[in-house]
């Protein structure tokens, strides 16, 4: 194990993939300078500009070039910088990348990774703070991962690049600089495997990305109140490890689902629906969701705090399912 940041762990994973397979190329804006969050730092020195390709500010073309290269023998990793910028390439993501294999009768795979930084970080305001995983999980043909720590960042990126289908790899801005232990050698976390971060018997907290860190904090506070929560970090949203979720909820009978994305119509709604349908008779309380309030993310710190949930909201939700409030 070596301590490094989430961002460095993704560089590590990319370097492994690029050394192993010369079909892997990375492309994006400012990428040979390391990208906006340093997640590509140093790659150009080892692999050169043919494999670390600086792209114009043409988001649609970044994705389209990725698709064209992927279906003709390469394995591109496209950096879209802030997740909001994927919206300028939604046509290419939704209508091309996600549908190519199916629409063309299985003739080709689209081994393409779309990396994007999401979430709230220090008053980045409306257009640089969103969590849009719900847009992507809605679409057949896309896989979606959202790691919460450096080790998973490395392992999931390795798996994403090795995968034959388009994978949306979401990296929360608030945790990109966070450090943690990362396996030194090769390290792969298979897509579709959730991690149980903490065992508990009173309730299950299902979450991912930055919210998994808030949830750890919430769990400690809950312990202080005599409540033992089981904490599941999904890591991968599509494919989704529902097995792990269901078996936990079947034991605890209570569940809180938490994400930083907007609660209304969010991925948490899908989770609650699946849980309710599958283990309805094991539930001892109505599931509770935690997510952002239904407003664009505001600039002013007190407003931002009012819209975006954190550990306090998870604690409150846990107390609610426990019938304490």
């Amino acid at each position: 194990m070596r301590r490094m940041s989430f961002g460095q762990a993704t560089v590590d994973a990319t370097r492994f993939a690029m050394r192993e397979d010369d079909r892997v190329v990375v492309l994006g804006e400012d990428i040979s300078w390391g990208g906006n969050f340093g997640q590509f730092r140093g790659l150009v020195d080892e692999f050169g500009h043919d494999r670390v390709i600086d792209m114009p500010i043409s988001e649609a073309i970044i994705m389209a070039v990725g698709v064209g290269a992927a279906v003709t023998g390469l394995r591109p990793v496209a950096s879209m910088s802030f997740v909001e910028f994927t919206l300028g390439a939604m046509d290419e993501i939704v209508n091309q990348a996600a549908k190519f294999r199916y629409m063309f009768g299985g003739q080709v795979s689209v081994p393409l990774v779309l990396r994007a930084s999401d979430g709230v970080l220090r008053s980045s305001a409306g257009q640089h703070s969103s969590s849009l995983e719900g847009l992507f999980t809605h679409l057949p043909g896309l896989k979606v991962v959202a790691p919460s720590n450096p080790a998973d960042a490395k392992g999931l990126l390795r798996a994403a690049i090795a995968d034959d289908d388009p994978v949306v790899y979401l990296e929360n801005k608030r945790i990109t600089a966070k450090r943690g232990p990362v396996p030194v050698g090769d390290h792969v976390v298979p897509l579709g495997s959730a991690a149980v971060r903490r065992r508990g018997t009173d309730l299950t907290i299902v979450t991912y990305s930055v919210m998994a860190l808030h949830a750890e904090k919430a769990c400690s506070e809950l312990t202080g109140m005599g409540i033992e929560a089981e904490l599941i970090d999904l890591r991968s949203l599509v494919p989704l490890d529902l097995d792990t979720v269901l078996s936990s909820v079947a034991r605890t009978g209570r569940v809180v689902v938490a994400h930083e994305a907007w609660e209304f119509g969010g991925f948490g709604a899908e989770l609650v629906a699946a849980i309710t349908v599958e283990v309805f008779d094991r539930l001892r309380a109505a599931p509770v969701r935690v997510g952002a309030a239904q407003a664009p993310i505001p600039f002013s710190p007190p407003l931002e705090g009012a819209v975006v949930p954190g550990a306090d909201e998870i604690v409150a939700a846990a107390r609610e399912v426990m019938g304490l409030i």
Binding site: F104, D165, V238
Partner: protein, 334 residues
């Protein structure tokens, strides 16, 4: 200059044959659609055959093309068999895309046909990506992105040209300027009269071509393809043509007078090419008629193949959403 000084008789006849096969195929598609045999909707290529036939004659089998909603002609010219295309239009399991795509998504990656595309100008960036990949793999394959006079106003056209030009990629952007985008004349939507001038903004050659003359489409494509293959970067070819049919089969065509269409008949690319071949002594009546008869037989065989093929089983509807695995997004659901 006589034709045979610039083109072999064999090639001239082969382009003729390709144009006739496209024309007969599309005419039959029109009939079949009107008879209610085909689901969805179809856009035919009638009148534009000299472009697909000429351009694809300048390509190798392993070169790439990306196509449009009006893609049957490109698919045929790039070497796809008629049977799987027709079966795809019927939505049959034996279709080129197993009935998952239909008319607007015909593709055959084994002949470099990277797909008809229902998104206007959607193929241009993909062609640039294919060219980038060819460069990277060191194969010298060239990619052609076909699009229309409507597509030239999409941002992706500009983004793709800039990117391909910056990297001097082996792409040829072929605009099929058939004067209309759906119901709207390009004169109402586009500020420049000569679409090829758009190339100058990206520092690449732009040429306006008589798109109804196979000799012109072939030779201009040949030059652009050679430049692309040699690392000289992309070219924009503005091929002037005219769509004889409606935007789609069944289009009432209220936006143009039938006299306008009739006035263009003299420029029918097949009529013109047959006259040229006859004048040059390359084709006599008998062989000409034989080409049409063979095409008719080939298309009839394609229709028989499609009609007698099975529809896909409903139980296979979730196959191929992902590679290998099942489409179900979650494990563990009861």
């Amino acid at each position: 200059m006589s034709l045979t000084e610039t083109m072999s008789p064999g090639l001239a006849l082969s382009i003729h044959r390709t144009m006739v096969r496209i024309r007969v195929f599309e005419s039959r598609v029109e009939q079949l659609f009107k008879a209610g045999e085909l689901p969805g909707f179809v856009h035919t290529y009638i009148g534009q055959e000299a472009i697909a036939a000429g351009v694809c004659s300048a390509l190798n089998r392993d070169d790439y093309i990306t196509s449009t909603h009006r893609g049957h002609g490109h698919a045929i010219a790039k070497g796809m068999e008629l049977g799987p295309i027709m079966a795809e239009l019927y939505g049959k399991e034996t279709g080129a895309c197993r009935g998952r795509g239909g008319s607007m998504h015909v593709a055959d990656f084994s002949v470099g046909m990277l797909g008809a595309n229902g998104i206007v100008a959607g193929g241009l960036g993909i062609a640039a990506g294919a060219a980038l990949s060819a460069r990277y793999r060191g194969t010298r394959q060239v990619a052609v992105g076909f699009f229309g006079d409507g597509g030239i106003n999409k941002g992706t056209f500009h983004e793709a040209l800039n990117f391909a030009a910056t990297h001097r990629l082996g792409v040829v952007f072929v605009c099929e300027n058939n004067q209309y985008a759906q119901f709207t004349s390009r004169l109402r939507t586009t500020a420049v009269e000569d679409l090829s001038v758009r190339a100058s903004a990206y520092g690449i050659p732009g040429v306006t071509v008589d798109g109804n003359d196979p000799s012109a489409t072939y030779h201009e494509a040949l030059e652009a393809v050679a430049r692309a293959r040699e690392g000289g970067g992309p070219t924009l070819l503005n091929m002037e043509t005219y769509r004889f049919g409606g935007h789609y089969v069944g289009d009432a065509e209220v936006y143009r007078e039938s006299a306008e269409v009739e006035a263009r008949r003299w420029a029918d690319p097949i009529v013109r090419w047959e006259r040229t071949l006859t004048d040059e002594g390359l084709m006599k009546d008998g062989p000409r008629e034989a080409v049409w008869a063979e095409a008719a037989e080939e298309v009839s065989a394609a229709v028989r193949f499609a009609e007698t093929s099975p529809y896909p089983e409903g139980g296979t509807a979730l196959e191929d959403v992902f590679t290998g695995a099942t489409a179900v997004p979650a494990t563990g659901r009861a």
